[in-house]
C-alpha cells in the first residue's frame, strides 16, 4: 500500500517537533510509518494522535485493567462499550458509567464541568437508556488556595446547569478538599440510565454500504488538541483558528436524547456511537473496527458551525452534543424526519465498506486512508515500570492523643471542610425531578425508584484518597468496600460498579505503582464482594510542576432494592432506641481525619480491609433491614464512630446517651476509622444479638437515642442543634468568603 495521498496545500510538514506536539514518541511515530509503509499526512497524524493518546488507547493502563473482574450472571455488558449494562429483572437493564472532565474543568470550571456531565449522559443514552440519575465526585485544592473558591462555584454551577436543564436528577456524590488538588481539581461525573434488556444499542456496525449519519449539533473548532494548535505552522491567521473551549448546550442534548430514543424505538438504528473525546475520529473508527468493516467519510457533508474548517480540524473537533449512527437504509427518511422535528442536524456523511480501511475525503481529495483495525488494535501498549510503596508503620493510638477533649474534637471534625454538610452543593442540583427520588442526597446512598416501583436503585460514589496514597492496595480495596457499605446501609444488594481512576503521570514509577496497587485492590474487593466492574475511565497526568494529585480511584456503585418503601435511612427514628455498632473497633488512627485535622499528621498505615468480614457484615445489615429488625442504619467511614453517630442525630434532631468504651482509648474508639462497621438503631435488641452470634458478627451496644444532647459519660455534652449548626455552616460561609 505504498501510495501517497494527494498533497493538501498549506498543510504543515511532518517534523519531529510536530510529532512531539501530537504527544507521540519517536518510537510511536516509527510504528505509524511502518504500519502505513509511508509518511502519514497531517490529517492522518492527527487521527493517530487521537487514537493513540492515553485517553482513547489506555496504553498505560490496559494491561492492568484487564485483571479486573467484569463478569457476573447479571452483567449484560462489561467494559468496552459506551457504558456498562446490568440486568435488574422484569426485562429491565441499568446502564451506567463514570467519567472525568478534570483538565477542562480546571481551565473553565463552569463549561468544563457542564460538558463533563453532557458527555457521560450521552454515553448512557447512546446505548438506548433513558438517564434517570447523575452523581458527581469532586476533589478541590486547599480551601485557602486562592483558586479553590471560584473552582467550587464554577464546577458546581456547571454540573447543575447541565443536569438541571437536561432534566435528570443529580442525587449523590462527594466533595473533598486537599492541597494536593491545588493545581488539578477532579470532576468525575456518573450517569445512570434505564433500558429494556432487549433494546440495548451498541457501537458495532454491521452490513456493507450502510449509511453513516451525523446527528446533533454542528461541528466547530472546539477542544482541538491545544499543543498542536498553538504551533506557529498556521501562519498569520493563527488567531482565527485558535482552538476553543467546549461550551455545553444542554438544550440540544435534551433534544438529542428524545430524538435518539424515538428513532431507536422505531427500529431505525444498526449501530450508534456518541462523539466524545476526539469526536468524529474515535466514533467512526470504533464503529467500523468493532464490526470488522471499513468506513468512508465525506467531510464536505459534515455540518459545520464555522467556515473554512480543515479536515484535520473536523476530525479532531470535540464539539459537544453530536452522535454518529449507522442506519437501516430503508429507514433513512423516517429517521431524518424525526431529527428535523426536533430541530437537529442530520446528514449522511459516509458509509460502511468491505475494505477494512478508514478513508476520509475532503474537498475532492482523500486526506486519510488508514487500516481501520490497526488504528485501534495496533495502538501501543505499555507495561510501564512501577515501584510499590512500602507498608507504613501502624500507629499506636496512645501515642497520638490530641490535647483537647472528645467534645472539642467532635466539634472540630463535624465542621471541617471534608466532613461538613455538602448541602450548599446538592441544593444547586435538581434532585427531585422525575418524581422517583426516594432518598435524596445527604444519606449513605441515593435511592431512585424504578418507574412506578416496587424496585429501586441505590447509588453512591466513594474513595478515600489519603488511604490510597499510604497503601494503594488497601486504599483500592477500601474504596470498593465503602461503596459496598453505603449501598448495604440503605438495604440494597450491591450489583456492579464503575470506576474512575484519577492519577498523576504514569511515566513516573511511583505513580504507576499507585495505579497498579489501587487496581489490584479494586480487583480483589470486587471479586470478594461479587461486585464486578462493568465500566470505567482512566485519567492520568493529573499533576502540576511534578506534584501529583492524591491517587483517586473513584468508585461508583449501583445496588438493587426489591421494595422501595423499605429502603433504610440513617436518621434516628424515635427516642429510647438502642444504638448498636456492627463490626469490631480497634481504634485505627493511621491516616484518620483525627490525625490530620487535630494532630496535623498525615501518616501511618491506613485501616486494613478484611473483605470476608466486609461481606459478612454487609449481608448481616441487609438481612436486618429486610426483616425489619432495625430502624436506622449508617455506615462508619471518615471521622469514625462518633462522627457517624452525630450525622444520624443531626438528620433526626434526636440526641443520644452513650457509654464510654473500656478497652480502647476513648479518642481512638470514637474517631478511629476501622472498616466494615455500621451503626444501627433498634427497638428490640435481643433478636439482633442472637443473629449476630449465629453469624459470627461482633455487635456492641453503644447507648440509646433520646433528648436534645449527644452525651458521653465523663465528657462535655453537646447540643444536637449546635452540632447541626456547625455541620451546615462551614461550606456556605466559605463560599461567601467569610473564612
Amino acid at each position: 500500500m505504498n501510495q501517497t495521498l494527494s498533497v493538501i496545500p498549506n498543510e504543515p510538514a511532518i517534523t519531529p517537533e510536530l510529532i512531539a506536539q501530537h504527544g507521540l514518541t519517536p518510537e510511536e511515530y516509527e510504528r505509524i510509518v511502518k504500519l502505513l509503509d509511508r509518511t502519514p499526512s497531517f490529517t492522518e497524524l492527527g487521527i493517530f494522535s487521537a487514537m493513540w493518546n492515553e485517553h482513547c488507547s489506555y496504553k498505560s493502563s490496559k494491561v492492568h485493567l484487564r485483571t479486573l473482574p467484569t463478569e457476573a450472571p447479571w452483567v449484560i455488558q462489561g467494559p468496552g462499550e459506551n457504558a456498562g449494562v446490568i440486568d435488574i429483572g422484569d426485562g429491565l437493564a441499568v446502564v451506567f458509567k463514570m467519567e472525568s472532565h478534570n483538565h477542562p474543568s480546571y481551565i473553565e470550571p463552569y463549561q468544563g464541568a457542564a460538558t463533563g456531565v453532557g458527555g457521560i449522559l450521552r454515553d448512557v443514552f447512546t446505548m438506548g437508556a433513558r438517564p434517570i440519575a447523575c452523581l458527581n465526585a469532586l476533589s478541590f485544592g486547599d480551601p485557602k488556595h486562592p483558586k479553590t473558591r471560584a473552582l467550587v462555584a464554577g464546577v458546581v454551577a456547571g454540573i447543575g446547569g447541565y443536569g438541571n436543564s437536561f432534566g435528570v436528577p443529580t442525587v449523590g456524590g462527594e466533595v473533598r478538599f486537599d492541597r494536593r488538588y491545588d493545581g488539578n481539581c477532579l470532576v468525575n461525573a456518573m450517569a445512570v440510565g434505564l433500558a429494556e434488556t432487549d433494546k440495548i444499542f451498541y457501537a458495532k456496525a454491521t452490513g456493507i454500504g450502510m449509511p453513516i449519519v451525523y446527528l446533533g449539533s454542528k461541528t466547530g473548532r472546539d477542544g482541538i488538541h491545544g499543543a498542536t494548535m498553538a504551533s506557529a505552522e498556521f501562519g498569520a491567521d493563527a488567531e482565527e483558528k485558535r482552538p476553543t473551549v467546549q461550551v455545553g448546550d444542554p438544550f440540544s442534548e435534551k433534544l438529542l436524547l428524545e430524538a435518539c430514543l424515538e428513532i431507536m424505538a422505531k427500529g431505525c438504528v444498526i449501530a450508534i456511537q456518541d462523539m466524545g473525546a476526539a469526536g468524529l475520529t474515535c466514533s467512526a473508527v470504533e464503529m467500523g473496527a468493532k464490526g470488522d468493516l471499513g468506513v468512508t467519510l465525506d467531510l464536505d457533508k459534515v455540518p459545520c458551525r464555522e467556515t473554512g474548517m480543515s479536515a484535520y480540524e473536523m476530525m479532531l473537533s470535540e464539539s459537544q452534543e453530536r452522535m454518529l449512527m449507522v442506519l437501516k437504509p430503508d429507514k433513512e427518511k423516517e429517521a431524518e424526519a424525526i431529527f428535523r422535528k426536533w430541530g437537529l442536524d442530520f446528514a449522511v456523511v459516509g458509509e460502511t465498506t468491505p475494505s477494512k480501511r478508514f478513508v476520509v475525503r475532503h474537498g475532492g481529495a482523500v486526506v486519510a486512508d488508514l487500516p481501520i483495525k490497526e488504528l485501534g488494535d495496533e495502538a501501543p501498549v505499555y507495561r510501564r515500570p512501577f515501584t510499590e510503596r512500602g507498608k507504613q508503620a501502624e500507629i499506636d493510638p496512645a501515642s497520638v492523643k490530641a490535647p483537647v477533649g472528645i467534645a472539642e474534637v467532635l466539634e472540630a471534625l463535624i465542621g471541617s471542610p471534608n466532613l461538613c454538610s455538602k448541602r450548599w452543593v446538592w441544593e444547586q442540583y435538581d434532585h427531585v425531578i422525575l418524581g422517583n427520588t426516594v432518598q435524596r442526597p445527604g444519606g449513605d446512598a441515593a435511592v431512585i425508584r424504578i418507574n412506578d416501583g416496587p424496585k429501586a436503585l441505590a447509588l453512591t460514589a466513594d474513595v478515600t484518597p489519603r488511604y490510597c496514597e499510604a497503601d494503594p492496595f488497601e486504599g483500592g480495596k477500601q474504596a470498593v468496600a465503602e461503596a459496598y457499605r453505603n449501598l448495604s446501609a440503605v438495604g440494597a444488594k450491591p450489583l456492579a460498579l464503575t470506576d474512575n481512576l484519577n492519577f498523576g503521570n504514569p511515566e513516573r514509577p511511583d505513580i504507576m505503582g499507585q495505579f497498579v496497587g489501587c487496581v489490584r485492590g479494586i480487583g480483589a474487593a470486587a471479586r470478594a464482594l461479587d461486585f464486578p466492574v462493568v465500566s470505567g475511565n482512566v485519567s492520568l497526568y493529573n499533576e502540576t510542576n511534578g506534584r501529583a494529585i492524591l491517587p483517586t480511584p473513584t468508585i461508583g456503585g449501583v445496588g438493587l432494592i426489591d421494595e422501595f418503601t423499605r429502603s433504610m435511612t440513617m436518621a434516628f427514628k424515635s427516642e429510647g432506641e438502642a444504638i448498636l455498632v456492627i463490626g469490631g473497633t480497634r481504634g485505627w488512627l493511621g491516616q484518620s481525619l483525627y490525625l490530620r485535622e487535630l494532630c496535623g499528621r498525615e501518616d501511618g498505615a491506613p485501616p486494613p480491609v478484611d473483605l470476608a468480614v466486609e461481606r459478612r457484615h454487609g449481608d448481616f445489615v441487609r438481612s436486618l433491614i429486610r426483616d425489619g429488625l432495625i430502624t436506622a442504619a449508617h455506615d462508619v467511614s471518615d471521622g469514625g464512630l462518633l462522627v457517624a453517630l452525630v450525622e444520624m442525630a443531626i438528620a433526626s434532631g434526636i440526641g443520644a446517651v452513650l457509654e464510654a468504651p473500656s478497652e480502647v482509648p476513648a479518642h481512638a474508639f470514637w474517631f478511629g476509622e476501622d472498616q466494615a462497621r455500621y451503626l444501627v438503631t433498634a427497638r428490640n435488641v435481643e433478636p439482633i444479638m442472637e443473629r449476630a452470634k449465629a453469624a459470627g458478627v461482633p455487635v456492641t451496644p453503644l447507648g440509646a437515642t433520646g433528648g436534645a444532647l449527644v452525651s458521653i459519660s465523663g465528657e462535655r455534652p453537646l447540643r444536637v442543634a449546635d452540632l447541626k449548626q456547625r455541620f451546615e455552616a462551614w461550606l456556605p460561609a466559605y463560599m461567601v468568603g467569610s473564612h
Binding site: 454551577a157 447543575g160 446547569g161 438541571n164 436543564s165 437536561f166 432534566g167 448546550d249 444542554p250 438544550f251 440540544s252 435534551k254 433534544l255 426536533w342 430541530g343 446538592w426 441544593e427 444547586q428 442540583y429 435538581d430 434532585h431 427531585v432 425531578i433 422525575l434 418524581g435 422517583n436 426516594v438 425508584r449 416501583g453 422501595f564 418503601t565
Partner: protein
C-alpha cells in the same frame, strides 16, 4: 377531567406532571406539541409544565411564549378555561402576557432545589379548593429564576384582589424573609390572573403526590381541580 400538557422543546417535568394528573384523575393527559395550533377537543385543563423550554436561553420562558400553541392557550384562557402553569410554565405564562410580572434570578443568584413551605392564602378557587385557607403545605422548588417581581401598582392590585394564592412561609405559616429562598416580593409563590382561571406558581406540587414516596402535600391541588370539574359537570 380532561387535561392537556403542553410540551415545548427543553421542557422536562412533563412526565412528573402527567403522573400526578393520572394518579388524581385516573386519566392519561394529552401531550400537546408546541408546534400544534389547537388543543384537543374537550380539554378541561391546560398545563404548562416545568423545565427549561429552549434551554431558558434569552430569558426563561421567552421563546416558548411565542410558540404557535400559545395562541391556542391564550384563546382557551380567554374563554375561561383553566390553565395551570408551573415553574417554567409560570415564566412562560408571564412572558405570554397571561399573568402579570416577571420572574427574575433568585436573590442569591443560585439554582435552589429544596422543600419549601407555602401558605395557601385562599381555598375558594378551583386551584386551591383542596386546601384550607391558611394551611401550610410542603412542596419542592427547583429553579434558578423564581424571584417574582412586578411594579408597585401591580403588586397592590394582586394583593387587594386576593390574587396571591401561595406564599413562601415558615412551617407555621409566618411570612418571613428567612423562609423566602428566592427573594420574591411579598413572598409570592403563586398568583392567578384577574379572571381567576390561570394559576402560575414556582413550586412543584406534582412531585409530592404519592404516599409511598413520603409526601402528599401536592395532592390537594390536583384533587381540588378534579372536584371542581365534578361539581361543574
Amino acid at each position: 377531567m380532561k387535561s392537556a400538557v403542553v410540551v415545548f422543546p427543553g421542557i422536562n417535568r412533563e412526565r412528573d406532571m402527567a403522573r400526578a394528573l393520572r394518579l388524581a384523575s385516573g386519566r392519561e393527559p394529552a401531550m400537546v406539541w408546541h408546534a400544534d395550533t389547537a388543543l384537543p377537543a374537550g380539554t378541561d385543563l391546560v398545563v404548562i409544565p416545568g423545565g427549561f423550554s429552549y434551554g431558558d436561553y434569552l430569558r426563561c420562558g421567552a421563546i416558548a411564549a411565542r410558540a404557535p400553541i400559545m395562541d391556542a392557550v391564550r384563546g382557551f384562557a380567554a374563554k375561561g378555561g383553566l390553565v395551570l402553569a408551573i415553574c417554567n410554565g409560570f415564566q412562560i405564562a408571564c412572558e405570554a402576557g397571561l399573568l402579570p410580572g416577571v420572574l427574575m434570578r433568585n436573590a442569591q443568584l443560585r439554582f435552589i432545589c429544596r422543600d419549601v413551605y407555602l401558605r395557601v392564602e385562599r381555598s375558594d378557587t378551583p386551584f386551591t379548593r383542596g386546601y384550607n385557607a391558611g394551611q401550610v403545605i410542603r412542596v419542592p422548588v427547583a429553579h434558578g429564576e423564581g424571584n417574582y417581581i412586578a411594579d408597585g401598582e401591580t403588586i397592590a392590585r394582586l394583593e387587594s384582589e386576593g390574587r396571591v394564592l401561595f406564599r413562601y412561609s415558615s412551617p407555621d405559616g409566618m411570612i418571613d424573609p428567612n423562609w423566602n429562598h428566592n427573594g420574591a416580593m411579598n413572598g409570592i409563590a403563586g398568583i392567578i390572573n384577574e379572571r381567576g382561571n390561570v394559576l402560575g406558581m414556582m413550586p412543584h406540587p406534582e412531585n409530592h403526590v404519592e404516599a409511598s414516596m413520603g409526601r402528599t402535600d401536592g395532592r390537594g391541588l390536583f384533587a381540588g381541580l378534579l372536584d371542581h370539574f365534578k361539581v361543574a359537570a
